[in-house]
Symmetry: C2
Subunit: 454 residues, 2 copies
């Protein structure tokens, strides 16, 4: 093998970097082709007259950047080049490259509409925190950074009617670490959850040895009579988004559930997933604030409000569990990134979060209307349900067709995913990541994909 394309200058930049660059160029110009196996580290280093470390570092850099792939015991293979048509990615594809290449429209539920302005502000806050040496060379607070808890207490009070001071708030990297903590504190045996289910919460319950009981919905949400009969001592509800059609649970039903908790000593876990994001009507305050929070554990998060990459959630445990929490607090290491916690604190305290909320409510109201109209005109016969705070329309599909529907959509340049839940398989068409002006085109493309054989 001739390596005439490799240029190394002893007095240039670090050798591994020169090697990395030469190899990139070789791949980009087609001298090295996709799937080609690279020389072994030992052979390459001997041939080039450089150390093995240099070759290894270059290979690793190229792996990180997606040019090479390392296969245990087999060696390094060239990854870059054209995407072959139907190669199934080994896992959920990274959103960047495949999206750009394969999809014209992204209706996936895993993207957010981040206007440049908010991104810019968020970056600025992260950079500000990053520049404060004392923050990044020390551990954080077990319960969450005090500045963030102060900001959350004020925000959650205003935006969601939550009655809690900074001392009553526990921060974590999303809901799951907080749920584990809560399950440990509460020491319960049986958790009720709506029949659609919620895999992430159920997994935590099972990991903690708690039995999961799915409960039927009626038109107002989870059925309190079924809850009583179930013998559950824990109930997981999302009152902001728990009723068929994405409506919020009415206040009367909330009080019925609170009554169940008070009479049986049960605990309600209120997952306020995007509760502040309701745009069709004024947001309904959280249950936590309705009953003094006595029997409610409140869970809030920000993935959809801010940026999906920011995994910060918070919990307000029921007051009765706080003394036990304080005893154990030091046994739980904080999971959320300290830098992102402090950036979020600044973002909230400066009023930016609430400004963003107001903008998002308007934006999502407009986008959901637009998608509704497009769907009605392209799919006159099909039923679509708006899941308001989850930011998508869902439509039932035959389980055996799910894969083909996604594939046919992809062939038309539309990224769509289906989800299994206890009561069937659904396609979720999200309007959260796609720009408003692309929505009509996306639904038309979906019509070509789905209506031709339908």
């Amino acid at each position: 093998m001739a390596y005439e394309y490799i240029e190394l200058h002893p007095d240039g930049p670090p050798l591994y970097r020169q090697l990395t660059d030469s190899l990139k160029t070789a791949m980009e110009t087609g001298r090295l082709r996709r799937g080609e196996r690279m020389p072994s580290i030992r052979k390459f280093s001997e041939d080039l007259g450089v150390s093995r470390t240099t070759v290894e570092a270059a290979y690793q850099q190229l792996c990180v950047e997606g040019y090479l792939k390392s296969e245990p015991k087999r060696g390094y293979f060239v990854l870059s080049g054209e995407q072959p048509g139907n190669a199934a990615p080994r896992r959920a594809p990274a959103v960047s490259a495949p999206l750009a290449g394969r999809f014209r429209y992204n209706l996936g539920t895993d993207c957010a509409d981040a206007e440049n302005d908010d991104l810019r502000i968020w970056r600025r806050h992260v950079r500000d925190v990053l520049n404060r040496r004392e923050i990044i060379v020390s551990y954080g607070d077990h319960q969450g950074e005090p500045a963030l808890r102060e900001a959350l207490a004020a925000y959650a009070g205003r935006a969601r009617g939550i009655a809690a001071g900074a001392e009553e708030i526990v921060v974590g990297a999303g809901s799951q670490p907080l749920l584990y903590l809560l399950c440990g504190l509460a020491g319960r045996r049986r958790a009720a959850i709506g029949e659609h289910g919620f895999a992430q919460a159920e997994q935590v319950f099972r990991d903690c040895g708690i039995e999961v009981v799915p409960l039927p919905y009626d038109e107002n949400g989870i059925d309190p009579e079924a809850l009583r009969r179930s013998g559950a001592d824990l109930a997981y509800v999302s009152p902001s988004a728990s009723v068929e059609g994405g409506s919020a649970m009415p206040t009367s039903r909330r009080f019925e559930l609170l009554r169940w908790a008070q009479e049986t000593g049960g605990i309600l876990i209120e997952d306020d997933y995007n509760g502040e994001l309701r745009y069709r009507a004024h947001p309904i305050p959280a249950m936590q604030g309705m009953a003094g929070g006595d029997r409610v554990a409140y869970l809030g998060s920000f993935s959809k409000l801010l940026l999906p990459s920011v995994r910060i959630g918070y919990m307000v445990p029921p007051p009765s569990l706080l003394p036990l929490y304080r005893e154990r607090a030091r046994n739980y290491n904080q999971t959320a990134s300290k830098i992102e916690q402090l950036a979020l604190a600044a973002y909230i305290s400066s009023g930016q979060m609430e400004r963003r909320l107001r903008r998002l409510r308007k934006l999502y109201a407009a986008k959901s209307q637009l998608m509704k109209k497009s769907l009605a005109s392209v799919f006159p016969g099909r039923r679509f349900t708006l899941e308001e705070t989850a930011l998508y329309f869902r439509t039932r599909v035959a389980p055996e067709e799910a894969e083909a529907l996604c594939r046919r959509a992809a062939d038309e340049g539309v990224r769509v995913r289906t989800r299994e839940s206890r009561d069937g398989v659904f396609a979720a068409l999200s309007f959260s990541g796609i720009p408003a002006e692309d929505i009509p085109g996306a639904i038309e493309a979906l019509g070509r994909a789905w209506n031709e054989k339908g």
Copy 2:
């Protein structure tokens, strides 16, 4: 109340910011004094002729920056000004301000020696990731960013002898989220742990309904006979730092434990806390690689290696549990910050992590020698044990004296903390955060604090 110190210009910067600045100046110049109650938001806004939002935003900004404190139902109070002498902080003090003010020397175990160079490189990597829009507007990989897992697979293989490809590695925000996941996968009933105990792991076991059995140590570490008798089906060990005196567990004992696991079907959880950081001898490879990893779940982390604020750990589950993990992987949201994961991937792949390791080994060898000498000369009668990879000397103290010892040290400007473990109370004198040149002075100050009454 006269507010003549407040200057607001209608055509200047946003009003809340002008108000914030005026209030800061008022506190810094002593017009507003520590403990003073601020006017209510309503009153202040009326008096100043600005909106309540303006006042509220200013108050919140000041809370975040530590100038004000909000007390639920009581109002806002001035926090800045001189620290009163013995005010007990309500929780673990933030490392920044109180340290600067009260302590000349920091022997706390919660700081890291971060040279400017590494900080600079780390910041650069974070900034690079932050600038990639597609990364921060999308969710991450459930199992951990592929680039990080690739980098970890290569690093852990080289640095710790771990046999695992990127597909076998699960990333999380430190060990606890990974332990919850493992407990759920393994479905065990009884976990053995060394008699010193490890509160964070025990808490996870208990939260998952797993009984915890403390086991005695002999001179080689956890006693395999006691382990057999305990009936445990899970054993939590730190073979790199598990023997009295901070020595690593000898290879013979590691094989005995592996034999226990193979014969009984037990699982060994290998917490390789700072395993790569041994500086007195060459690091001993992890147990995971010794037996093909068959019965071992490996846990690695980076808090002490890189920066305490970076909470990223990784796990290699036993191969037998991988199929079940793959089934459930989507039920677990990733907990580690996506930005920090990708920054860490770049940091490792560029060879920086291993360069840092080599530097740290030298540095900690020198600092531990220096502290050992200082301790021997200042406290000739007292026994100090070096916990090598934990980076501190420990010394037994009488439980009833623990608080007074910390206080007397603080009076001499030295920050020291004590820890309770199952077999007593110990003071931990860490050399990780303090600059080498300060060590002799710190130990002399500690001598003044502790020897006077001793």
